[in-house]
């Protein structure tokens, strides 16, 4: 069974964002990593790249599937999780501890369009 972590914002395409001040950590939900199976590669943007809410910023690949990563918010990439380059399986081990990118939010009101954990749970049923 998938875990659901409270206190995060979720998108319909199964990304989460953990907001800390003007920054947000974006990753994929535990539900999403379950659905994908063994992750073998994470395609990530570069630092300073711009991301836009609702648009793709990378992809997660398993052996038999590939899924685009859709940014839940707009902003600038300030850090990427380089550990995922060599150990993409970290996403399978703990999807919430292993975020993919850290962004500086340009429009925090976009968070209002996202789901809280209860709504996301329902979305996944």
């Amino acid at each position: 069974m998938a875990n659901f972590e409270a206190g995060l914002y979720y998108s319909e395409s199964h990304e989460y964002i953990r907001v800390e001040g003007e920054f947000g950590y974006i990753g994929i939900s535990d539900y999403a990593q379950h659905a994908l199976g063994n992750v073998v590669y994470v395609d990530m943007p570069e630092v300073d790249d711009e991301v836009t809410a609702g648009e793709e910023f990378g992809a997660v690949e398993s052996v038999k599937a590939a899924s685009d990563l859709i940014s839940p918010v707009s902003g600038t990439v300030v850090e990427v999780n380089e550990a995922l380059e060599d150990e993409p399986e970290l996403l399978n081990q703990d999807a919430f501890a292993n975020w993919i990118i850290k962004v500086q939010l340009s429009d925090p009101t976009e968070l209002d369009n996202l789901m809280d954990v209860e709504a996301y749970k329902k979305h996944c049923e």
């Binding site: 073998v40 590669y41 395609d43 690949e61 052996v63 599937a65």
Partner: protein, 467 residues
Amino acid sequence: MNTNSQNHSAPSLTGRAGGESFKYFPHTEEDLDVMLQACGVGSVHDLFADVPEAARFQRDYELPQALSETDLRLFFEQLTHPLNAQQLICFAGAGCYDHYAPSVVQNLIQRSEFLTSYTPYQAEISQGTLHYIFEYQSMIAELTGMDISNASMYDGATATAEAAMMAWSSAKKATRVLVSETVDPKVRRVVETYAHFHGFPIQLIPAENGATSRAALDKELAEGGVAGVILQQPNYFGIVEDFTGIADAVHDQKGILVINANPSDLAILKTPGEWGADVAVGEGQSLGIPMTFGGPGVGFMACSEKLIRKMPGRIVGQTLDSRGQRAFVLTLQAREQHIRRQKATSNICSNQSLMALYVTIYLAVMGKEGLREAAEMSYAGAHSLCDKLLATGKFRLTFPGQPFFNEFCVDYDGDLDSLLSEATESGYLAGVKVGEKTLMLAVTEQRTPEEIDELVEILGEYKNEKI
């Protein structure tokens, strides 16, 4: 073709005309009865009851009647009568070469386990195919000096077009892909066709004395916005170009360098990898594949490690099986169309597998020394022919001072068409006309000194010139 359209006897209840059997259809009348009954229909045509009447095909095809095997052989023998398929002594190249084809290669690729198998999706019963593709990838990577190779593509032209699309999709703020005018015009045309429909501009870099104009290339690179640069080595005119410094200039503005190379010459020539290319592509036909009127050949594509997930086509990787044995498997499939659909790196969903096997066995037979020896002989033959043609006084080098490998261009002041006809009459394909006055000739290790001398005699002594 004889397309006698008279109608045949009406199909029987089970659908077979006159109840005759045919060598590729094993169904007897008795089989048909049992099977139709199991399906709950009276005739095979009832299985098409869901096809709207207006779409049903109700007559005989306008095709010839079935030929027996004997008649089929006779038919093709007539098509290959010397007048219909003249076996000319070949001094033509321009992308298709008459190289030595070792006997064992033709024999081994006919093995039905290779020939009649499908794409190796079921790894447990496809290790033969997966194994040779892994060898092929290793050989291509080594020849081109690149990190990785895919499992092969349709031909050299489409591989180049795919590389152009790779360049375009890798670039973030580019405005065009540059292609040298010294790239084979047939390849350029395919690249332009793909680019036109895919939706990105191709810009031609002009040639200077038969080689890519460095001044023009540098100017374009200085302007920026270049997603990629496509060059050819040896180039279309046979010239070995010096690409020193180009890779750095391309990389400085985040473009990728694509070199289309002739793999048989890479036994000797500096590799795309050594030139700093990001992608190496080309046509593998020169690795001993018979010309067969231009196909099948095999396109190859190799690239640097960092582009592995941008590379189109099949890739075979090494892994372990459940018993701990080394095994091979199709890998990185998440790039491909059956998973990514419209977001795939390309729409290609096959490789030219059997021709990749051809190349693999050819390179195994020729090996390190053989490939070099064949290249050496081709080089020596071409330069010998060139010397002798110039000595006749009727020809002069189109691009003086340029180093060439086994193909070169000469200008002729007379009527080139009638000269070529004269050569054809004598059983020679004297080359390919690449300009009003320009003839391009190729020599491989297949051409004997006697053939070279005879061609020089024919071309040198031809009198009936309209000047």
